[in-house]
């Protein structure tokens, strides 16, 4: 019997109105419609969400762990981007 591999889909669930969709996992399906149904069966059996996004995994471009240093390095020497960098007397510190 020929082993057939279905495309992989990444599943995102909005647990509640007002919140972002969050990645919960992935599954194989024939197409987007089927991925939606599978996602409902796999991830929403206890009304864990109000909305599902399915995205073909192959459509996702991701940064590489090994690139992380050069990708994020320039941020490390910019402490002035943080509120805590600005020392204010305690009388006015609550801004």
């Amino acid at each position: 019997m020929k082993q057939q591999s279905l495309p992989l889909f990444e599943i995102f669930i909005r647990s509640k109105r007002g919140l972002d969709h969050r990645h919960v996992g992935s599954l194989h399906a024939e197409d987007h419609e089927q991925a939606l149904e599978y996602a409902r069966d796999v991830y929403l059996r206890r009304s864990e969400g109000v909305s599902i996004w399915v995205v073909r995994s192959s459509d996702i471009t991701a940064s590489q762990e090994s690139d992380v240093a050069s990708f994020y390095d320039p941020m490390d020497d910019k402490p002035y981007r943080h509120a805590t960098h600005y020392k204010l007397p305690k009388e006015v510190d609550n801004m």
């Binding site: 972002d20 909305s51 600005y86 204010l88």
Partner: protein, 310 residues
Amino acid sequence: MDSLQASFDEKIANEQRIEPKDWMPDAFRKTVLRQMSQHAHSEVIGMQPEGNWITRAPTLHRKVILLAKIQDEGGHGLYLYSAAETLGTSREEMVQALHDGKAKYASIFNYPALTWADIGMIGWLVDGAAIVNQVSLQRTSYGPYSRAMIRICKEESFHQRQGYEATMVLARGSAEQKAMAQDALDRWWWPALMMFGPHDTDSAHTGQSMKWKLKRESNDVLRQRFVDQTVPQAEFIGLKIPDPELRWNEDRGSYDFGPIDWDEFMRVIAGDGPCNRQRLAHHVRAQQDGQWVRDAMHAYETKRQAREVA
């Protein structure tokens, strides 16, 4: 149709957020779109008065701070344009409406940043006022707008603190520096109060927006909160709020303040502020000057795709 309206009303009543694919009344869609586009344009146009001082910041430290702040504001514009795009409008349409004078932005950005002290004042007062408004909007009923506000508020605290700290340095400096800080406060105080919009009794949109929970607190409530938190901050560094009628009201537990010059507000909104034409012309020019970059990127991408197919 009625059941759609009923389900919309029920979501609003139950403190649920409205999400992009939900049915919503046309008037709601129009209002939230107008508000998000106006807010987005404000973030972007707001980069101009501060941008004016990047090359003339007094120290390298102040310069990198200012650059970082302005970069944040560009990002805020992006968050808000994307939130607006969830309602099916495009970035190009919004920018075009701005250039055609059909879309507005906060009128405060039509005032010039004349001295270095203005940069401190913008961070302390203008970002300070924006924060009061934006903290309240974190609970706005349109989901993408609310999430953009939450993200923005996390970044704003640095903006206000750097502004206050820069002002504090001037206020504690030489007599000239202190005078420069006071002059900047004199010029920015009233426009900052105007940022909250007309009084509740005169505000055209407030009633409906509050019913929809797009707006959670009224203009006057937010303005009062800003005054109450800012007056002690001014006193602490020995600067004087330019309002002879300002005094603490024991009964209300708030400051009373003098009348706002709404004629000036209407004039600036209508296009006759000190910098309206300059702000828009600069935005148009920046858009045109960047066209060759977008063209080049598009040409490169077209070529790359053709190569992939071949």
